[in-house]
C-alpha cells in the first residue's frame, strides 16, 4: 500500500510544473530533489567554464615557444653502473637515502632490503607480514625506513648499526588505512609520515604516537602516488589517483587547493619539479605531462606514437631539464622537459619498470623492475 502511495506521489512530483494539481503545489514547496540538483549542476558547469576562461586569459605563451631560445641537448650515453640482485620477486618501490648512496627497496614477496648501492652490499633486510609491499621510504636522518602495502598499514623500522639485530622487533605501526597503502613519504623530519591509500584518501601521521594529524579527502578512486613540495614553506603536496586527477593539497588545512584532470587514465606517479613551481605525472595512457602550478594548467605532454604502454614512475634530474620515465614496456624514456622531445631510450630490464628515482645529488638514477632487479644508471 505504501508503494502505491509512493508511486502516485512520484507521479505528482513529475508533473509538478502543472499548476492545477494541489498536491503538486504542496510538493513544490518542499524539497524537489531533481530540480535543485539540475540547478546545482548547471551552476557548477557555468563556474567550470568561467575557470577555463580565466585560465585561458593567462595562457599567453606555450612551453615550446619559451624553449626555442634554448640550445638542444646533446647525445646521452647512460650505462647501467650497478645491478642489485637479491629480491625474490617483483620490485615494487624504492627510495634513496640522503647520503646519496643507500637505497631501500620493497618487493612483492614481502621483503624490504636496505642496500649500499655503491658497493652493492645488502645492509639490512626485513620481512613484512604481508605480500605486495607497494610503498617504502627512507627517513631524512637515514636512521629508519617506512614501508607498507596490502596490510593497509605503514610501519616504521628503526635501522641499527648491528647487522644481526632483528629489526622487526622495534617495528612501529604508524598509519592505518582501510585499504592497501600505495605510497608513503617522510616529511622534513623522521617524525611525520604522509601516506596515500587505495581507499581514496591521503593522510598525515605522527610517527611517535601513531596519531592521525590530518586526512585529505577528494579523490573519487584509489590514490596511487604522492610527492611533497620542495618549497621553503614545505606545506603542500600533490597526489595522483585512478580518477585521472592530480590534486594539490594544503597540509595544514587538509583542503585541496588545485586539481588537474587532463590524463585519460590512472595516474601512476607524480613528481615535483625541483623549484616546486610545477610537477610531472606519468599515467597508464602512455603519456607524461607537466603541470604549471602558478598558471594553473597543463603545459606539456610527453608522448610518442611508438610508446603504447603506460608510464609507471617519473622523476626529474637535478636541474629539471630531464624527465626520466619508467614504462610498462620494460623501457625507460628520457625526455627533454623544455622541448618536449625524447632524448634517449634505455633498455635492460626484462619486465615492467615499476619505480624510478633520481639520487638526492642527481649523480645517478635507480630503476626497480618486476624482473626482480634494481639498476643504477648514470
Amino acid at each position: 500500500n505504501f508503494c502505491v502511495i509512493f508511486i502516485t506521489f512520484e507521479g505528482f512530483l513529475s508533473r509538478a510544473g502543472e499548476a492545477n494539481f494541489p498536491l503538486a503545489k504542496m510538493a513544490a514547496q518542499e524539497v524537489q530533489p531533481s530540480e535543485t540538483i539540475a540547478k546545482l549542476k548547471s551552476e557548477s558547469e557555468a563556474l567550470k567554464t568561467k575557470l577555463e576562461e580565466e585560465r585561458a586569459k593567462l595562457h599567453d605563451v606555450e612551453l615550446h615557444q619559451v624553449a626555442e631560445k634554448v640550445d638542444p641537448l646533446g647525445q646521452f650515453v647512460m650505462k647501467t653502473r650497478r645491478t642489485l640482485k637479491g629480491h625474490g620477486n617483483k620490485v615494487l618501490c624504492m627510495d634513496w637515502c640522503k647520503d646519496k648512496r643507500r637505497i631501500v627497496s620493497s618487493s612483492q614477496d614481502g621483503k624490504v632490503i636496505v642496500w649500499d648501492a655503491f658497493t652493492t652490499n645488502k645492509e639490512h633486510a626485513v620481512t613484512m607480514p604481508c605480500t605486495w609491499v607497494m610503498a617504502c621510504a627512507y627517513a631524512p636522518s637515514g636512521c629508519a625506513v617506512a614501508c607498507g602495502g596490502l596490510d593497509n598499514k605503514c610501519s616504521v623500522y628503526p635501522l641499527s648499526l648491528d647487522k644481526n639485530e632483528n629489526l622487526a622487533a622495534k617495528k612501529k605501526s604508524v598509519a592505518m588505512h582501510t585499504n592497501y597503502l600505495s605510497a608513503c613519504s617522510f616529511t622534513n623530519s623522521d617524525m611525520q609520515i604522509l601516506t596515500s591509500s587505495g581507499d581514496g584518501t591521503c593522510a598525515l601521521w605522527d610517527v611517535e604516537s601513531g596519531q592521525l594529524l590530518q586526512s585529505f579527502h577528494g579523490h573519487a578512486a584509489d590514490v596511487l602516488c604522492l610527492d611533497l613540495a620542495p618549497s621553503e614553506t614545505g606545506n603542500t603536496f600533490v597526489s595522483g589517483g585512478c580518477d585521472k586527477k592530480a590534486n594539490v593539497w594544503d597540509m595544514r588545512s587538509g583542503q585541496c587547493i588545485q586539481s588537474f584532470e587532463t590524463h585519460e587514465s590512472d595516474i601512476n606517479s607524480v613528481r615535483y619539479y625541483p623549484s616546486g613551481d610545477a610537477f610531472a605525472s606519468g599515467s597508464d595512457d602512455a603519456t607524461c605531462r607537466l603541470y604549471d602550478l602558478r598558471a594553473d594548467r597543463e603545459v606539456a605532454i610527453y608522448s610518442k606514437e611508438s610508446i603504447i604502454f603506460g608510464a609507471s614512475s617519473v622523476d626529474f634530474s637535478l636541474s629539471g631539464r630531464l624527465l626520466f620515465g619508467g614504462y610498462n614496456d620494460y623501457t625507460i624514456n628520457v625526455w627533454d622537459v623544455l622541448k618536449g622531445t625524447r632524448v634517449s631510450i634505455l633498455f635492460g630490464h626484462e619486465n615492467r619498470v615499476s619505480t624510478l628515482r633520481v639520487s638526492p645529488d642527481g649523480t645517478a638514477f635507480c630503476s626497480g623492475s618486476w624482473d626482480h632487479t634494481l639498476r643504477v644508471r648514470e
Partner: protein
C-alpha cells in the same frame, strides 16, 4: 588472509589496459593483406599452416610503420607477443619476438586479451582435460600441478568439465587437419599467456586490483555539486600568473642549475658511479671544513638553497654572529623543529620558544611587528603545530630579502668563496678504473653521522641556554 574478490581482468573498467586499444588497432593494420606483414604458408610437422609470418618481417614492419629503430621495434614486438596478439609456433612457451626467421601467427580476435570475459579456471580445466584425453602424458609438470589443484577446487563440477572436454574433443576431430592444428596452436598460445609457465611472467599480470571502479558514476548528490561549486569558486579567486612569468621561472631554474646537474655537466672530480671513486661525496660531506666552489656557488642561487645545505647554514650563522643577529635564524630553526617534531613535544617546545624569543625581555628577543607578535602570543596559549607560522614567515622573509643579500656581499662569503676547493677532474686509466671497482669504500653509516650531529646539537643547546649567574659567581669565588 585477504579474501580476493573474483574480478575479471576487468578491462572494461580498469583503464590500466587502456593501452590495448591502440595495440589492437596496430595488429589489425599488420594483418592487412596489402600493407601489412607479408605472410605465407609454412609446413609444421607435415601440416601446412596458412598466414605464417617470420619474426624479422614483423620487426621490419613495426620499424617502418612506427618510424623507430630496431631495438625499439623489438620492444614493441615483444609486448605484442607477451600480450598474446602474436604467438610463436616454435618454442611456444617463450613469449618474446625473435628477430630471425622464427615463425609466428596472429592470434584470432576471439582469444585477444581485450575480450570482456576472464580466463576462467573452469575453461582452463576443460582445456587441460581435453589435452589429457587426446593423448595422455602430454601435460607439462606445471600443467599437471595446475590440473591436480583444479581437480581439487572444482571437484563439484568435475563431471561437467570432463563432459565438456569430451564434447570439444569430438567436435575438434570433425574439423579438417589444418584447421584443427591452427585452433590447437591458438588455444595453446592463449593459455600460455593467461597461465604462464613457472619462472616466466605473464603480461596479464597487472599487480593489485584497484579498489574503486573509476568508471562507476559517482553518486551525483547535492553534496557532490556543492563541493564542485565551492572548489571552482575558490580556484577562480586564487591568484594566477601569466604563462610568460611562470614558464620563464621554470626556464630560469633550468638555466641556473644547468652546470650543477651531473647529467648535463661533468661533476668534479668525477661521478662516483662512473669511476667508482667516492671523492666527490667525501668533498661534499655535510660538515666538511672547506666546501667546493660549486657548492658555494649554489648557496647564492636562493636563500632556500643556503639554508638547506648544512654547511651553508653554518657559514650563514658565522655571518650572523658577526652581525649580532643570530636570533632570527635561531627562532626560525626552533619553529621548524616544532612544526616537524612529534605531537607530544609541541607544548613544551612552544613554552621554550616563548621564553627564549617572544616574551618581553627575552634573552633572544626577535623583532617582529606588533600585530604578528600579538597573534602569536595569543595563539601560544593553546599551542598547535602551526601556531608560529605567521611569525616564522615574517622572519624568513626578513632574512630572505635583507640579510641574505648582505651575506652574499659580506667578507664572510667572499672569504669562503676564495677558500673553496676546485678539484681537478680525475683521469683514470682503464686499469685504475678496475682497481677502483674492486676497492669501493663503504662510507660512513648515516646512523653514525646522525648520532654525531645529535651530540653537537645537544652541546649547542646547552651552551645557548641561560647562564646561571649565581653558579658562575660561586665557582669563581671558590677559586679565589
Amino acid at each position: 588472509m585477504t579474501i580476493k574478490f573474483i574480478r575479471d581482468h576487468g578491462q572494461h573498467y580498469r583503464p590500466r589496459m587502456a593501452c590495448l586499444a591502440k595495440v589492437e588497432a596496430m595488429v589489425l593494420e599488420m594483418q592487412d593483406s596489402k600493407s601489412g606483414v607479408k605472410s605465407s604458408e609454412q609446413k609444421l610437422n607435415i601440416t601446412s599452416i596458412p598466414h605464417v609470418v617470420t619474426g624479422q618481417d614483423i620487426l621490419a614492419w613495426i620499424a617502418n610503420h612506427m618510424k623507430v629503430d630496431a631495438q625499439e621495434a623489438q620492444t614493441i614486438g615483444t609486448m605484442l607477443v607477451a600480450y598474446g596478439f602474436i604467438y610463436p609456433l616454435q618454442d611456444h612457451k617463450k613469449l618474446i619476438l625473435k628477430p630471425d626467421v622464427s615463425l609466428y601467427r596472429f592470434q584470432t580476435p576471439y582469444f585477444w586479451p581485450v575480450q570482456k570475459w576472464k580466463a576462467d579456471n573452469t575453461d582452463y580445466a576443460i582445456y587441460l582435460a581435453k589435452r589429457n584425453i587426446r593423448k595422455k602424458g602430454t601435460l607439462d609438470v606445471y600443467e599437471q600441478e595446475y590440473y591436480k589443484n583444479l581437480h581439487k577446487w572444482l571437484n563439484h563440477k568435475w563431471d561437467f568439465i570432463v563432459m565438456q572436454a569430451k564434447e570439444q574433443y569430438r567436435a575438434g576431430k570433425e574439423r579438417n587437419k589444418a584447421d584443427r592444428v591452427v585452433f590447437d596452436c591458438q588455444e595453446r598460445a592463449y593459455w600460455i599467456v593467461h597461465r604462464p609457465p613457472p619462472r616466466t611472467h605473464s603480461a596479464m599480470d597487472y599487480g593489485v586490483d584497484r579498489l574503486i571502479d573509476p568508471n562507476a558514476e559517482e553518486n551525483k548528490t547535492f553534496d557532490y555539486y556543492r563541493r564542485i561549486i565551492i572548489f571552482t569558486q575558490q580556484a577562480i579567486m586564487r591568484s594566477k600568473v601569466k604563462s610568460t612569468v611562470s614558464l620563464g621561472a621554470i626556464l630560469k631554474h633550468m638555466t641556473t642549475y644547468k652546470d650543477h646537474d651531473p647529467f648535463l655537466a661533468p661533476c668534479l672530480p668525477s661521478n662516483p658511479w662512473q669511476t667508482d671513486d667516492s671523492s666527490y661525496w667525501d668533498l661534499n660531506m655535510r660538515n666538511v671544513e672547506i666546501p667546493t666552489k660549486m657548492r658555494v656557488e649554489r648557496w647564492s642561487f636562493s636563500f632556500f638553497e643556503l639554508l638547506n645545505d648544512p654547511r651553508g647554514r653554518t657559514d650563514f650563522k658565522v655571518f650572523l654572529k658577526k652581525e649580532f643577529s643570530g636570533e632570527n635564524l635561531a627562532f626560525w630553526e626552533a619553529a621548524e623543529e616544532m612544526k616537524w617534531g612529534t605531537a607530544s613535544s609541541i607544548s613544551e617546545k612552544a613554552q621554550t620558544i616563548f621564553k627564549t624569543f617572544l616574551a618581553p625581555g627575552a634573552p633572544r628577543w626577535i623583532n617582529i611587528d606588533g600585530r604578528t607578535m600579538g597573534l602569536t602570543v595569543k595563539g601560544l596559549e593553546h599551542p598547535h603545530r602551526y601556531v608560529l607560522d605567521a611569525a616564522q614567515t615574517h622572519i624568513f622573509m626578513l632574512m630572505k630579502k635583507d640579510t641574505f643579500y648582505r651575506y652574499l656581499k659580506s667578507p664572510v662569503y667572499k672569504d669562503i668563496q676564495k677558500k673553496a676547493l676546485s678539484p681537478a677532474p680525475h683521469n683514470f686509466t682503464p686499469s685504475q678504473l678496475e682497481q677502483n671497482a674492486q676497492n669501493r669504500k663503504p662510507g660512513i653509516n648515516p646512523i653514525i653521522i646522525w648520532q654525531q650531529e645529535e651530540e653537537e646539537r645537544a652541546k649547542a643547546a646547552a651552551a645557548a641556554g641561560p647562564i646561571d649567574i649565581k653558579k658562575l659567581m660561586a665557582s669563581k669565588l671558590d677559586r679565589k
